[in-house]
Symmetry: C2
Subunit: 289 residues, 2 copies
């Protein structure tokens, strides 16, 4: 009879796997379980600590809903989401950064130069740039999915006072690859910290803040889709983003411009009568495959 | 500005921990995240695989309830529950083995020699033994919490046809430390495999079977509580328990006895008119601390 011991249990687990199972599944699940076992043995995990782990998962389950993605949030604050982003980043392309839980599909189209600010207060931000390939050539017809917080620090899905797609837009660039839009500068905000993930942050003495950022998903036929974010270089949380999203090439200077220079060809041209912020951020996509 | 990379993200995570956080929490959470990061880097985890992991957790969350503990089941079939049992086993005491999800508190008292079989069919099993300390002395007043499947392979909580505490009992031993009871031999059974954990078993080409077993929790003042199981040595699933619960010292020979030898002093004495099975299993508890 084969006795299971703490020294052979990982091999027994691997031995249970069928010879004809999917090889990648075998590799990934085998490595996951080996690391989980090594973790438990390394720290001599107690039954009480195991129970705390189960209680954490059950606590996440209890508040999981369409509007609250506690497991993704756990992955975010433990660095797993950002790590997966970095593992899969293409070295010659713009860095990817966390998707987060606030992207929604079906955002309304916005023409190049259009406005997301509408009647919201706060500093006007003009964001523009070119979507290009790794040779520097523009990618005509690339699609830019944009989302961000309102000036109150909330995404539309968190805020009953915003309509469903407020500060969400989908832009298709022309032959020159240029995008551009006006908005309100996004603000730093806290991730939800009233659940089990917040308990972990508290236990670690960590804050729940993220630096201000614009979210982009950029897609074009023949290129790897890119999920990324842009950060202003003067944000107080730049060095301590609670979800580890900051990469050097995603940090931009938001230049202050006088009102009189507000460029033509934008939906808000002539309507801006105060100084505004200007960020130029080109996006480089890697070829598919 | 500190750029997060896949090479430094684990250190950035550890650096976010406050100096005055609980040292054991720092050790356990730090090791958990280090192993999770190492896992992702080792297999070059893709976004699709990360999403499959999140979908697994959300799928467990969707069916988690008072009667369905999918996260515990995941821990069981991945070997984590058994590993924690073995890490915390006392070498001089009886081995511990998985609690499983079917223990219920508040089982009715059963006197030594009492019967759990009642009107159920199936092979009669007489189980008895002594609860003792590591010097071999009996532990008077030790408490034995017993539970098992009905002959249909279901625990009371899974089966509308059984009453709430069917095949559950709580026995307090006397000065000689002896326990004993009659029951129906428990049957091998499958863990629930219609959820996300079942999907993993299927993907691995694994079956969901556990060998037949009696569950015990044994407690006495001054001793470490013991959660364990007893297995018959002729079970077809002994070498492939899907939750890794089998240990050498928990495998017993269930001896066949002729009806005429059924011992006196048992609730069923004189009522057993057919051959029966007999298992003797002494339990050794380790001192507390």
């Amino acid at each position: 009879m084969r006795t299971v011991t703490k020294d052979n249990i990982t091999d027994v687990f691997l031995g249970y796997m069928s010879d004809d199972m999917d090889p990648r599944m075998r590799e990934v699940l085998g490595a996951l379980v080996r690391h989980m076992h090594d973790f438990a043995k390394e720290v001599d995990l107690t039954h009480e600590e195991w129970q705390a782990g189960i209680a954490f998962l059950e606590g996440c389950a209890a508040i999981e809903s369409e509007d609250r993605h506690e497991f993704i949030l756990a992955s975010d604050v433990l660095g797993m989401s950002s790590l997966v982003d970095m593992i899969n980043s293409s070295p010659d392309a713009t860095s990817s950064s966390v998707l987060g839980p606030f992207h929604v599909s079906g955002a309304p189209p916005l023409e190049v130069g259009g406005d997301m600010k509408r009647d919201f207060g706060g500093p006007v931000l003009l964001a523009e740039g070119v979507i290009k390939d790794t040779d520097g050539n523009p990618i005509p017809g690339a699609e830019l999915d944009i989302w961000q917080t309102a000036p109150n620090g909330l995404y539309a899905s968190q805020d009953a006072d915003q309509d469903m797609y407020s500060f969400h837009a989908l832009m298709t660039v022309g032959a020159d690859g240029r995008y551009g839009f006006t908005t309100v500068k996004p603000v730093e905000y806290t991730v939800p910290s009233d659940g089990p993930v917040g308990d972990i942050l508290n236990a670690c003495g960590r804050h729940p803040w993220r630096p201000s950022h614009l979210h982009y998903i950029v897609k074009a036929p023949g290129f790897k889709p890119l999920v990324t974010e842009i950060f202003p270089d003067d944000d107080p949380y730049l060095d301590q983003d609670t979800v580890f999203g900051v990469r050097e090439d995603l940090v931009m200077t938001y230049v202050e411009r006088p009102a009189s220079t507000f460029p033509s060809g934008m939906a808000l041209s002539g309507k801006i009568t105060e100084p505004y912020l200007h960020v130029t951020f080109d996006v480089t996509l890697a070829p598919e495959g």
